[in-house]
């Protein structure tokens, strides 16, 4: 796309639905008809497509459009929210009136929205959005992944491959006159396999996701590698022994292990939990909350990454935000409302699942910076422990900071060497406690390219995360081999 993203999105809504700046201004005036601090419109048009490949046939093709406008009126931190699934003025006006019910004073003033100040950064230029690419091109990639998985070992008896993608166009217009718009491409490519050997069965799964078109697959053999990797994981697990139980030193491998950062630290640093004093990180800015080896950032500006955004869902540009620097807590992630409790701070973290949802402070790409050690230094220092490579997902209780994440690929470390694969590993701990136990950080940073989705209050948004390999001196490992 050579056309500026924000102009492209504005032009799309205007030509297809007649939504222009006058309509936006009129709706904002209706939304403020009973007063309020601000009103905001979030227009969304999301085109999706999906191909499902199983037992070497295309079993399903599906696609559709999700479209609508979400209207928010805020009075302090009280929110009125309504949405309309069509763009007829009558229906949108009804939603604006409904959202207005939160306020109880007199007509507020909506400034005309101003297209002159549109941001025009583009972190994810694509040759052609994959949702518009020919299905046959995606099928070719699907077949490459499928063949590579099945060729890896005859024990791979089943492979299911999904290629789904979307193109999301958004406009955010606010009663203070701000206008922002974006076009956001995203693909999500997944394979899961089942291996069966000597009466034992196991699974393996891999995913790839980025804000790219299909040109992403022109370099390297990314589709084949993904398929082979899923098969390798299943075969590794089929030979795995039961995980130990108890507290052990753990080497968290580079890249995917950042699920730990996301769960153990990230959620607790979201601004809403902190102004409401619900997080175990509340009121702790400037305090030591991690080992001095840890510097953690949330960065929405990485080109083409799944978690990146030109603008967040409140129209603010995504930013590079330092959360923890050398173990000291530096800042939280904010949306428009939570930021007002922190000197009007704007961090570009206001995100929502769709026009049906109001925004909240959310992560983008969360990662830890490199340290000085090598990966070998970490492993060699462990007499008996675990090396964790890939994860099924995690969850945190942000009030206490207690978290859990399940490991889908892990190995024992015995006498400083990586030995047998283990299965059924869970890691349990408390965020600040675990980060204080980081005793070595390697220099092998990786950003995960997996298709991670972060859930909060029932809303899912695409994110990514990354880190170098890290040694934690003790984590509770929940296995069955006591």
């Amino acid at each position: 796309m050579t056309v500026d993203n924000s102009q492209a999105a504005l032009g799309f809504f205007q030509s297809r639905f007649g939504v222009d700046q006058k309509v936006m201004h009129d709706l904002l005036s209706v939304a403020l008809s009973r007063g309020g601090d601000f009103a905001e419109l979030y227009f969304e048009h999301r085109q999706t497509s999906m191909l499902q490949y199983e037992d070497q046939i295309v079993r399903q093709t599906s696609g559709g459009v999700i479209q609508g406008v979400g209207i928010r009126v805020a009075v302090g931190d009280s929110v009125g929210y309504a949405y309309s699934e069509d763009f007829t003025y009558e229906s949108m006006r009804h939603a604006a009136n409904t959202a207005a019910q939160i306020a109880q004073s007199s007509q507020g003033i909506a400034n005309p929205v101003d297209a002159a100040k549109l941001a025009n950064a583009n972190l994810y230029p694509v040759e052609k959005p994959s949702v518009d690419a020919r299905a046959l091109e995606k099928l070719e990639l699907i077949r490459q992944a499928d063949s590579a998985a099945r060729a890896y070992d005859p024990a791979i008896i089943k492979a299911t491959v999904l290629f789904s993608d979307q193109l999301k166009r958004v406009i955010i217009a606010s009663s203070d006159g701000r206008l922002a718009a974006d076009v956001q491409p995203l693909f999500d490519f997944r394979i899961s396999v089942i291996a069966e050997e000597d009466g034992k069965r196991e699974r393996g799964a891999m995913s790839l996701s980025a804000r790219y078109g299909l040109e992403y697959f022109e370099t390297g053999n990314r589709a084949e590698d993904m398929g082979r990797n899923a098969a390798r994981q299943a075969m590794t697990n089929i030979n795995a022994v039961d995980a130990p139980a108890g507290t052990l030193p753990v080497v968290l491998g580079a890249g995917n292990s950042a699920v730990l950062l996301h769960e153990a630290v990230g959620h607790g640093l979201e601004g809403d939990f902190n102004y409401k004093k619900l997080s175990n990180y509340s009121d702790r800015i400037g305090q030591k909350v991690a080992s001095e080896l840890c510097t953690v950032v949330d960065d929405g500006t990485i080109a083409h990454s799944r978690g990146s955004l030109n603008i967040d869902d409140e129209g603010n540009p995504a930013q590079y935000n330092t959360l923890i620097e050398g173990g000291i807590l530096r800042g939280y992630m904010q949306d428009r409302i939570s930021g007002t409790y922190f000197d009007g701070q704007i961090t570009g973290n206001g995100r929502r699942q769709s026009f049906r949802h109001y925004p909240m402070p959310r992560m983008t790409n969360t990662y830890m910076l490199n340290g000085d050690n090598t990966f070998d230094d970490l492993v060699k220092s462990v007499p008996r422990g675990l090396y964790c490579v890939d994860y099924g997902g995690g969850q945190v209780d942000i009030n206490s900071g207690d978290f859990v994440f399940s490991v889908t690929e892990a190995y024992l470390i015995e006498d400083g060497k990586i030995t047998s694969p283990v299965k059924g590993v869970n890691l349990i701990g408390n965020g600040p406690d675990i980060l204080s136990k980081v005793t070595m950080v390697a220099n092998d940073f990786q950003l995960s390219s997996g298709g991670w989705t972060c859930g909060k209050n029932g809303q899912g948004v695409p994110v990514s995360q990354g880190m170098p390999s890290v040694l934690v001196s003790g984590i509770t490992v929940g296995g069955t081999a006591a």
Binding site: A245, Q395, F403
Partner: protein, 453 residues
Amino acid sequence: MDNNELDLDLAEAVVKKAIAGGADEAEVVYRQGFDSEVKIRKGKVDLLSEAQPKALSLRLYRDKRAAVVYTSDFGKEALERLVAQALDMTTIADPDPYGGLPDPADLAKHFEAELGLWDPSVGDIPTEVKIEMVRRCEDAAFGFDGRINNTKGSSFSSHLAQVGLVNSLGFAGSYKVSTCGMGLDAVADDADGKKQNGWWFTRSHSFKGLKKPEEVGRIAAERTIRKIGGRKVATKKVPVIWEPLMSSNLLSTLAGTLTGDSFERRATFLLSLEGQKVGSDMVTIVDDPLRPGLPGSRPFDGEGVTSRRNNLFTQGVFEKFLFNTYTARKTGRKTTGSASSGMGSLPGVGTSNFYMEAGKTSPAEIIAGVEEGLLLTEMIGFGFNPVTGDFSRGAVGVWIENGKLAFPVAEINIAGNMKDMLANISQVGNDLDFLFSVAAPTIRIDNMTVSGL
């Protein structure tokens, strides 16, 4: 919401268009409704939201090639585009001999039975009444114990929905569901800057079916207070007592391994265990969409097949998997009327009211019988491998010593294998209640690994 006929007519028109355009079979599923939510936090209104969601999904087959499309735009032009798009997409799919609509004989014919799902007054509850109720709920929590000093909010939500299904085999049916619910998430300070929370809620198809706000607030507060001071325990094997919310959670996990999808993909630890004794004698598990008034009740399944009761485990014997039409055909079985509705995708397999039958022992007696063990009150994380049955989750609870609740525990993990866990269920409580569509009473599972220090 008022004109039911119009919607079935519209759906039928789309089906006809698809057939006229060259589809061999077609089906339209639609949902539309009214959602509203009121939330307060520390006595102040936090959120008022209201919306009328709607969606229509079209599934069609041409030469056994499937396509599924969806839209929220019901305009004439949009629907014409939708049909053309779906027909076009069938050229990409491969022929799948097992694909297609249900066998006509399986389709529901009489679904007028009163399932008690609809109370239109749920849509008419004044906002002021809801605000007053959630205030009482939050006040009850604050009043229960001075250590409750914060909440994540108390909310009241109501939903009205109409679900319709029309297919080219002549099936046309719709039904309405109303749901309202109220809940609270309370917060208290713990040591070292830690905070603890606990939530509770009530839900019903009718307004009068809701529990009192004071009861909801009190239980949320109790669940918060009992977590304060939670600590780790040494790693060991002990019996674990699962509160109903936790045993229901375990049943949800089990449900995923009972589907025709996982059977067909060989992705379940139950794969070769049909007809065998897997659980203990105490384990009887049923899926029954026809029990009136429950959260998962429905007159027909997600592809219009007759709803029926399915016995899954009877006194420990694993009887069968749940199938939709596709997974049944592909594996040489019969549908069990368990299709989940595919809005925008092919139908999956899902449960309706999925529950473990109650036993005779009271929860208090079950706890009293434990020398040393864990009363499990919360789990976090997603540690379950459906292929092997390996189960491992983070846990929060209360330690039991000599039949008495001794102290709160946190940052621990419980692990086992689902097959062993089912076999090790040694007691089942008499406290079955349908908070969710998946429900179970208090249960005792022996010999689970608790990891901590």
